[in-house]
Amino acid sequence: MEEILEILEKNCRYSNEEIAKMTGKTVEEVEQAIQYFKENNIIAGYTALINWENTGKETVTALIEVKITPQRGVGFDKVAERIYKFKQVKACYLMSSGGFDLTVIVEGKSMKEVALFVSEKLAVQEFVTGTATHFVLKKYKDNGTIFKENKKEDREVLFI
């Protein structure tokens, strides 16, 4: 059943019928598996991978290193939760690094907007002891997809 997840991770727009053919299972089996994955939060959502740079819409992404003081009983989780619940936060990871604790990926319309978010919402959190903001200049690859890849067929016809 893991194969269904692999297929959907590559392209979530395949129909259940198509997935059934690919995996050699019945449509009902595929439906049931997907239902199970949704109910158990294994499939957490379906999104499109968008290369916003090509739309002309201005977006800014920043990676922010956040230092925090862990709290008794709940460790880092409670502080992390206060941070990742902001809608500007696209991803949030607890790190094993010595220098900082959380990596927070933030998106905004402009550098100013992101900088303001960091200074007004992140840096001021009670247990946050420091932040370092790195702005993304160019996205080469995201979610396993290379944005500028040449997908043109270059196989020439020959007889084999």
């Binding site: 690919m22 016809v157 007889f159 084999i160």
Partner: protein
């Protein structure tokens, strides 16, 4: 001077490929989905490409030894042992060649001449017949049958053997049918051949592309190991067709002979490709597995597609091809493929391009993106409905 007359009869009389016209046609068309090309659509895994680039940066731009770098032969030896339980001494039982194709040519040239017969089960890859003819020997074809799932049977083989038989080609997993041979089925062939003075040329270039069963090499039967030459390579398993790298393994007396031709005619295989291949064998198993799983999904989509159109399609358990019967349409293989290309912009190859007994079938290669395959199934379905 009549230049035509200067050309050797064997070469002059070899008919040009019957499917050239399709290739000319699709060059002038847009929006063609090609199920015609017989090679992986994946690009070589990056770690392998990077190893090739690195070798160039280090200035490794010279010849290797005739047989290929010993590091590579060591890795080939480990790999064959690990995957197929084949034991070959890297020192003198393995020769690195320019693709599996060179191995086929070397073997036939080292073994066959005028008066010798080479048994070739068909439908199959066109090189066996071509190379046999070029060295002056006589190809004796066996017509494999759909009712046997295009496998070679003991009876068919026995019928084809004569006193002049020198070589039997065992081309499994098979291009174009996708047929494979199981251990039990191979055992029957082994029993026919073990006491005969006949060399087995086992082309296992698709060995990594089997679905459901692990590939079994005929050389893993001790009774025939010494009389078997195994052909394999990197093109299909690691998506490395353009690197042109393969190998041939066997008893040192046979390998010495093929190496002689190789060293006079080729010198050595491309060294950049050899460095890349070392990386492929050391760190490529995951990539092979991943590609195999993806091919398997595409294979199922295409088989299911043909069957739901009402075309008979036996389950191909190896290689990259589906080989459905198109007899129900009333069209010949050639008519089917030409009309399909003109009317629906899908290229498949007529089965008879791989031997006369392939008439009534087409070869569709599933090394294309899933999106293209799903679209191709729609188009072929629409086409078939018109004629059935």
């Amino acid at each position: 001077m009549n230049l035509e007359k200067m050309i050797l009869k064997n070469v002059r009389e070899m008919p040009p490929s019957g499917i050239r016209k399709y290739f000319d046609l699709i060059n002038e068309m847009d929006d063609v989905i090609s199920l015609g090309v017989g090679e992986p659509d994946f690009v070589t895994p990056w770690n392998v490409i990077e190893a090739g680039i690195y070798s160039l940066e280090k200035g490794h731009t010279h010849y290797s030894s005739n047989a290929g770098y010993i590091e590579l032969r060591n890795e080939i030896s480990n790999y064959l042992n690990r995957k197929f339980n084949l034991k070959y001494d890297p020192k003198d039982e393995i020769l690195v060649t320019v693709g599996g194709s060179e191995g086929i040519d070397l073997a036939l040239r080292a073994l066959c001449g005028p008066g010798d017969e080479v048994i070739i089960p068909e439908p199959s890859f066109v090189a066996y017949k071509g190379c046999t003819t070029f060295c002056g020997a006589t190809p004796v074809t066996i017509n494999l049958r759909k009712e046997d799932e295009f496998k070679l049977t003991k009876e068919l083989l026995e019928e084809a053997i004569t006193e002049r038989t020198k070589v039997v080609v065992i081309p499994f997993p098979n291009n174009p049918t996708g047929a494979i041979m199981t251990r039990e089925e191979l055992k029957e062939i082994v029993d026919v051949l073990k006491d005969k003075d006949i060399i087995i040329l086992s082309d296992e270039i698709y060995a990594e592309l089997t679905y459901e069963n692990q590939h079994v090499s005929i050389a893993s039967f001790e009774e025939v190991k010494d009389k078997t030459l195994v052909i394999n390579g990197f093109s299909k398993a690691y998506a490395m067709t353009g690197w042109r790298l393969g190998y041939i393994c066997g008893n040192r007396i046979l390998i010495d002979a093929v190496k002689k031709i190789h060293q006079y005619a080729i010198m050595c295989s491309p060294t950049t490709a050899q460095f890349a291949a070392i990386e492929a064998l050391r760190n490529g198993d995951d990539s092979v597995r991943e590609m195999n799983r993806e091919y398997n999904r595409r294979r199922r989509v295409l088989v299911d597609g043909f069957r739901s159109m009402g075309l008979e399609c036996f389950e191909p358990l190896g290689a990259l091809y589906v080989f459905p019967s198109i007899k129900a349409t009333g069209l010949s293989s050639d008519e089917f493929c030409e009309k399909l290309l003109m009317e629906e912009r899908v290229l498949a190859i007529p089965g008879n391009a791989f031997g006369e007994c392939g008439e009534g079938y087409i070869r569709a290669c599933y090394a294309s993106s899933m999106e293209d395959l799903l679209e191709a199934v729609k188009r072929i379905g629409r086409f078939v409905r018109k004629y059935m």
